[in-house]
């Protein structure tokens, strides 16, 4: 007997009540705080025509700024992925005096106004600062260079990877590691084949968050970057510059470009993450 034909349903009926109001509230909230402002951003640039939008976005200065913003953000997120993992590992796996304090320090970049972070970073990396004065003679300039941009972005994105990985690492059962050992796996193989794959989905999530945060970062970067055109000028700063020149359409155009790149990037990362997380859960 073939199953009775059923009319199409929007959702499968659930025993949990309240789907309607919950979805309604979610949609209203998202619309009000996200979709409507973003729609405004999409509509804003066109007042001087498509030519103006194209001219602003394709200008050498804009392209350099976008390249720097996304490039530095990507590298900063990579650096954070590596060191954030190590920090999380240390915090989860070992007991040592001061561990709780160290754990609390991880969140500091969240709490600090980013301008303050920028000033702090300039102070130590400037040519006459404690670190700057040591590394500059060695030919390594940080302050007022793209490298400085990256340092600032590493700073602001740091907590994301640590906080994303920590709970998952805590959950990895000791017996899985012990099983690997009794099966003859050495430490490297255990970590790379057994522990890392378990942590990978949340590592990707932390990476995405750190990346997204870094792309939008403005405050700390402007202090340390030096903001030289085509060299160390980030896209958010360029937007401010357009605004100060009352070129709202131009500012919105760069904003729109950032929005589109971000959407593609985050969507891609989400796809990868879903694929990785899907292993073993199917």
């Amino acid at each position: 007997m073939s199953p009775a034909k059923r009319s199409w349903r929007f959702v499968e009926p659930s025993a949990l009540p309240g789907f309607g109001p919950a979805l309604g509230l979610t949609m209203a909230y998202l619309s009000f705080f996200l979709l409507v402002p973003l729609a405004a951003l999409v509509l804003r640039p066109w007042e001087h025509g498509a030519d103006h939008v194209f001219a602003v976005v394709s200008a050498e200065r804009t392209l350099d700024a976008l390249r720097l913003s996304f490039g530095a953000a990507f590298f900063a997120a990579c650096v954070n992925a590596v060191f954030g993992t190590i920090v999380a590992w240390v915090l989860v796996r070992y007991d040592f005096p001061g561990k709780r304090i160290l754990d609390a320090f991880v969140d500091l970049p969240f709490a600090l106004p980013t301008a303050v972070a920028g000033i702090a970073l300039v102070t130590i990396y400037a040519p006459n600062g404690p670190i700057g004065s040591i590394i500059e003679p060695m030919g390594l300039k940080v302050a007022y260079t793209p490298l400085g941009v990256m340092v600032a972005l590493v700073f602001v994105g740091f907590p994301f990877v640590v906080r994303a990985i920590q709970p998952v690492l805590e959950e990895v059962q000791i017996d899985v590691e012990e099983a690997a050992a009794t099966l003859g796996a050495n430490r490297f193989r255990t970590i790379s084949q057994v522990i890392f794959p378990a942590v990978l989905p949340s590592l990707l999530m932390g990476f995405s968050l750190a990346l997204a945060r870094a792309v939008g970062e403005y405050g700390s970067v402007t202090f340390i970057a030096g903001n030289q055109q085509n060299v160390s000028e980030i896209a958010p700063l360029l937007i401010i510059i357009h605004l100060e020149e009352f070129d709202y359409a131009g500012a919105a155009a760069i904003g729109l470009a950032m929005l589109l790149i971000s959407i593609v990037m985050l969507f891609g990362l989400n796809l990868i993450q879903a694929k990785v997380a899907g292993r073993g859960e199917r």
Binding site: D175, A179, T182, L183, G184, Q193, A198, E281
Partner: protein, 346 residues
């Protein structure tokens, strides 16, 4: 090829988990470590595997000093209570993990590995499920994958830590019988930990009963059951009731009645405690020999019928009797309960 454990001690802080434990597992033997929680049975198993470092003592396997060998090189198969499968790997990858972990010089070829995996899959009756992930398997299937994974390294000894602890009763019984068969086929020296006396008595060639980090008694299931060395052993291997008694001339005086004493150990005359199994009573008419009691409930489901009785001398006991006797009784009837024979410890 025997496993020889001598004088192993291990403590966690002040708490002694193992106190001078010595055991011998013969080649190909199926040995059970039985005991209540906290008796040190799992700790002993983990010491043998190398997952725990002993404070003192020695373990030799056919003359080789095991404690001097790191975990990775011991080639001891270990099956964990909660399977400890690699969740992100398929069944095949899980089973192949140990073989692929070998040093390049000793590692079998890809073809050899997949042939071995197939062989193991059919040994644990999971043919065709190699592509599944652990989350797609039932508890019993997962445990069999864990077993296949442990067998893949061709271990010298197989250790199982409460292998059926997380499974439901029916699956458990099926797996038990299957594990027994598997052991007969592989002939591998196997030690398993359990707190379930029924499991230990049914599966093992010999059972070591542990208590507070010490071996209380070791022997065949028959020896343990029929000749328990202590009240603890008797009590652990089944339900039991205790009554004060008076030992005189090799007989126990309970409730004004002389009862024969079981067991080989000699008894000194004087006050002692008598131990009786729930099926060790003769049901008689009211005011007959033994304890006077009132029936609270008659339970007729099960192999034996059970009588839930309240004793006149305070306390309640549940005795097992043949159905033929129980059918004639009803709640509130008065009966007498006379122990047929008892075991006595001081």
């Amino acid at each position: 090829m025997s496993l020889e454990i001598t004088g192993i001690t291990k403590s966690y802080g002040r708490f002694p988990a193992l106190d001078d434990v010595s055991l011998l597992a013969e080649d190909g033997e199926f040995l059970a470590l039985l005991g209540p929680s906290g008796s040190g049975k799992t700790t002993l198993l983990r010491v043998i595997a190398g997952l725990e470092i002993a404070d003192g003592g020695a373990i030799h396997f056919s003359g080789e000093d095991l404690l001097a060998t790191p975990v990775r090189q011991r080639r001891i198969g270990f099956v964990f209570q909660h399977y400890a499968l690699f969740k992100h790997m398929t069944v095949t990858q899980n089973i192949a993990f140990g073989m692929k972990s070998k040093h390049r010089r000793e590692r079998p070829s890809k073809a050899a590995i997949s042939a071995k995996v197939e062989e193991l899959l059919s040994l644990v009756q999971l043919d065709g499920l190699g592509g599944r992930y652990p989350s797609q398997l039932s508890g019993g299937q997962r445990q069999r994958v864990a077993l296949a994974r442990a067998l893949a390294i061709e271990p010298k000894i197989l250790l199982l830590d409460e292998p059926f602890g997380a499974l439901d009763a029916k699956v458990r019984r099926g797996l038990r019988r299957w594990l027994r068969e598997l052991h007969e086929r592989t002939g591998l020296t196997t030690i398993f930990v359990t707190h379930d006396q029924e499991e230990a008595l049914e599966l093992a060639d010999r059972v070591a009963l542990l208590k507070d980090g010490k071996v209380e008694q070791i022997g065949t299931p028959e020896e343990l059951y029929h000749d328990p060395a202590s009240a603890f052993v008797f009590d652990f291997l089944g339900d039991s009731f205790q009554f004060p008694c008076e030992v005189k001339d090799g007989k126990a005086l309970i409730a004004g009645q002389e009862v024969p004493i079981l067991g080989s150990s000699p008894h000194v005359d004087g006050p002692a405690t008598a131990y009786v199994r729930p099926d060790g009573f003769v049901v008689g008419a009211p005011d007959g020999p033994g304890f006077q009691a009132r029936i609270r409930d008659v339970l007729l489901a099960g192999t034996d019928a059970r009588l839930d009785c309240v004793l006149d001398d305070d306390g309640s006991i549940e005795v097992r009797v043949p159905h033929a006797i129980a059918e004639k009784l009803a709640p509130r009837n008065r009966i007498s309960l006379a122990p047929r024979e008892v075991r006595v410890w001081g």
